[in-house]
């Protein structure tokens, strides 16, 4: 019995943590949809949804019910296997980086010896990251690259002109801006010396003047623009614009499969906001929290987590604000901008960072 | 039984075998290209297994080189396939045999 418990304990703990994290992110995503509709409404001089519950707070649940009960259309000549696979691939690749997010500082003040069978011995801290791997940044970039498949396969398998055009354009846009996104991260990695997300936060966690947005401002701007293009949001949302391509690659998707694509887009937005916060704004660190609470205690972790969420909401609000403000790019303007301006700018940033780091260190 | 070096080598050998059979069996030029990538991945697994069991970083370095070569080969190979398609309107390798006879 004891050996069974000892073998199963890590699996149970990790599964519980992953489910908790997924639930948290999905609820946040549902309320981001509501926030977008309300903020867009205020920008456009109207009130957003406010019928379902006070201030429209229950709107996401109404949307969920609508998606479940809608008729599920499958186009006749589509390739069924790939048609069903594509939204799953998109959502899975959007949700996978959640296991890497540094939700807060590790908690060191809990005494774990109350666990039976000696499971608590040797545990000194509870890290608030589910998977601590050395190469967190590369992993997130890689999973975002795999997410392109969902869109390309969706566009092709619907067997419709608009879907194919939208899918191919969207995939071409995403792979073009991945390069600029990766190149803009190199400067941050050089300054912090590690690819680990927790390590990058620790390198910034002493004062707000060490946050990498200050030395790497060009990198920050490039990453933000590339992130808008990666998540197919305005001003780069030509492939899914209603007036251009009849909703692009998800034209032929209805009901729950469309809901999966929709959720995948907002989870991608969330991922990118987390990456911007961690890489450039110091993650969960807020100056002054270490004076109010003891470092490593639970209130400190909760306050840091709330700071982290606050910074993420700032970037989600920025996404929504830009959606309400800017017009969209034409596709050739978009590709020109990505290859001919943004990528050379990111590379110039890398070279500049190399020179400055070298001369400061010698 | 515990997984040892032999298991990883066996998995790598099986992947290589399946890739080699695929190269001879398939007629589509892109299919042949994909089977070549499968063979390269089998070899990568061998390198990483040896690097782990003998604690040498050379194996992983070499895997990195193999991946770069595979990326370059993908770019040029797909360019060749597109050029072949433009001229013959098919990527069937049996149709690209004008040097024969």
């Amino acid at each position: 019995m004891e050996s069974v418990v000892k073998t199963a304990f890590p699996f149970v703990v990790y599964t519980g943590a992953i489910l908790l994290a997924f639930q948290g992110v999905l609820i946040m995503v549902a309320y981001t949809v509501l926030a977008e509709r309300k903020v867009l409404g205020w920008i456009q001089g109207r009130i957003g949804p406010n019928r379902v519950g006070p201030w429209g707070v229950l709107q996401p649940f109404a949307d969920l019910l609508k998606f479940i009960f809608k008729e599920d259309l499958v186009p006749d000549k589509s390739t069924k296997f790939v048609y069903f696979l594509a939204p799953l691939v998109a959502l899975t690749c959007a949700l996978m980086p959640i296991v890497l997010y540094p939700f807060g500082p590790p908690i060191t003040t809990i005494d774990w010896t109350f666990l039976p069978y000696g499971l608590g011995e040797g545990i000194t801290q509870l890290p608030l990251t589910i998977a601590q791997i050395d190469v967190g940044v590369l992993f997130v970039l890689g999973i975002t690259s795999v997410g392109v498949y969902g869109i390309a396969l969706a566009g092709w398998s619907s067997n419709s002109k608009y879907s194919l055009m939208g899918g191919l354009r969207s995939s071409a846009q995403m792979i073009s801006y991945e390069l600029a996104m990766g190149a803009s991260v190199i400067g941050v990695v050089m300054l912090s010396g590690t690819l680990d997300l927790n390590g990058i936060i620790n390198a910034q966690a002493s004062s707000p003047f060490r946050w990498f947005i200050i030395p790497q401002f060009i990198g920050f701007v490039v990453f933000l623009i590339a992130a808008f293009a990666e998540t197919n949001r305005v001003p780069f949302d030509l492939p899914e614009a209603e007036t251009e391509l009849v909703a692009g690659f998800h034209t032929e998707y209805s009901a729950l499969k469309f809901a999966l694509f929709f959720m995948a887009e907002y989870v991608n937005m969330f991922t990118v906001s987390v990456m911007v916060t961690v890489l450039f704004l110091g993650g969960w660190y807020l100056p002054g929290l270490s004076y109010l609470f003891e470092v490593g205690s639970i209130p400190y972790a909760i306050a840091s987590h709330v700071t982290f969420l606050g910074k993420i909401f700032l970037f989600l609000f920025l996404y929504i604000w830009i959606r309400g403000t800017l017009p969209r790019f034409r596709f050739d303007q978009l590709m020109n901008f990505g290859w001919k301006f943004l990528l050379p700018l990111a590379l110039a940033n890398v070279i500049l960072t190399i020179l400055i780091v070298y001369f400061l260190n010698s | 039984m515990e997984t040892s070096l032999a298991h990883y080598l066996a998995l790598s050998g099986i992947l290589f075998t399946i890739g080699a059979v695929g190269v001879v069996y398939k007629r589509n030029a892109i299919g042949i290209f994909m089977c070549i990538e499968l063979m390269l991945n089998g070899v990568n697994l061998t390198f990483i297994a040896f690097s782990r069991y003998y604690a040498d970083a050379t194996g992983q370095l070499f895997v990195f080189m193999v991946m770069s070569v595979a990326a370059a080969e993908a770019a040029v190979g797909l360019g060749i396939i597109i050029a072949l398609f433009r001229n013959r309107l098919s990527v069937d390798v049996d149709d690209a045999s004008i040097l024969k006879n």
Partner: protein, 194 residues
């Protein structure tokens, strides 16, 4: 115990995807199976203490090379593979080659299982990014530079290969091909701008 189960699961998934790659005649299904092989191999690299190579495998193989391949398949709108009509002996060659390589694999498995093996040195971590980066730029600098030049050659070569021919040249070439196939009535279908 748990690591053995994980290895067999991942290995089984990799072999199943590899067999599916060879068996399917539709090139898109083959491409999806190959992505499955790459992802399961990446997980195996994680268990072999090579996190950097695992992340790079997802980033480059599954995220860039296969996206290119899927693009080409979707753009060229390729049909299923047709069975061989002229070179039937190739099936026998494939079978023979497969059996010979499989026999070699089993022999290697048997031979390596029988050699006495020393304990794995678990303290030394050679897979983390710092040691790989250090090795790349001190001991193995020349191969890294050669790889850089080779990638440049590949880029130039790919751009030259897919240059657009001048329009009259393209029409002449395609006209010839269509005459060879006696299919004059399908003239309108090939005017796709790449």
């Amino acid at each position: 115990m748990a690591s053995t189960i994980i290895f067999y699961l991942l290995a089984g998934f990799a072999i199943a995807c590899a067999i599916s790659l060879v068996i399917h005649r539709n090139p898109l299904y083959s491409a999806i199976s190959l992505v499955g092989v790459f992802l399961s191999l990446s997980c195996i690299y994680f268990t072999l203490a090579a996190p950097f190579i695992a992340a790079v495998q997802v980033l480059i193989y599954a995220g860039a090379i296969m996206v290119l391949v899927v693009f080409v398949i979707l753009l060229l709108n390729l049909d299923d593979d047709k069975p061989l009509t002229r070179l039937r002996y190739l099936y026998a060659v494939a079978g023979g080659l497969g059996l010979a390589l499989l026999a070699q694999t089993l022999f290697i498995f048997y031979a390596v299982m029988r050699t006495p093996q020393e304990e794995i040195n678990t303290e030394q971590t050679v897979g983390n990014t710092l040691s790989i980066g250090r090795a790349m730029y001190t001991e193995y600098l020349l191969p890294v530079e050669i790889v850089g030049v080779m990638l440049l050659m590949a880029i130039v070569g790919a751009v030259v290969l897919v240059r657009k021919l001048n329009q009259p040249q393209l029409e002449l070439v395609v006209e010839e091909e269509l005459e060879l196939r006696h299919e004059k009535e399908e003239k309108d279908d090939y005017r796709i701008a790449f």
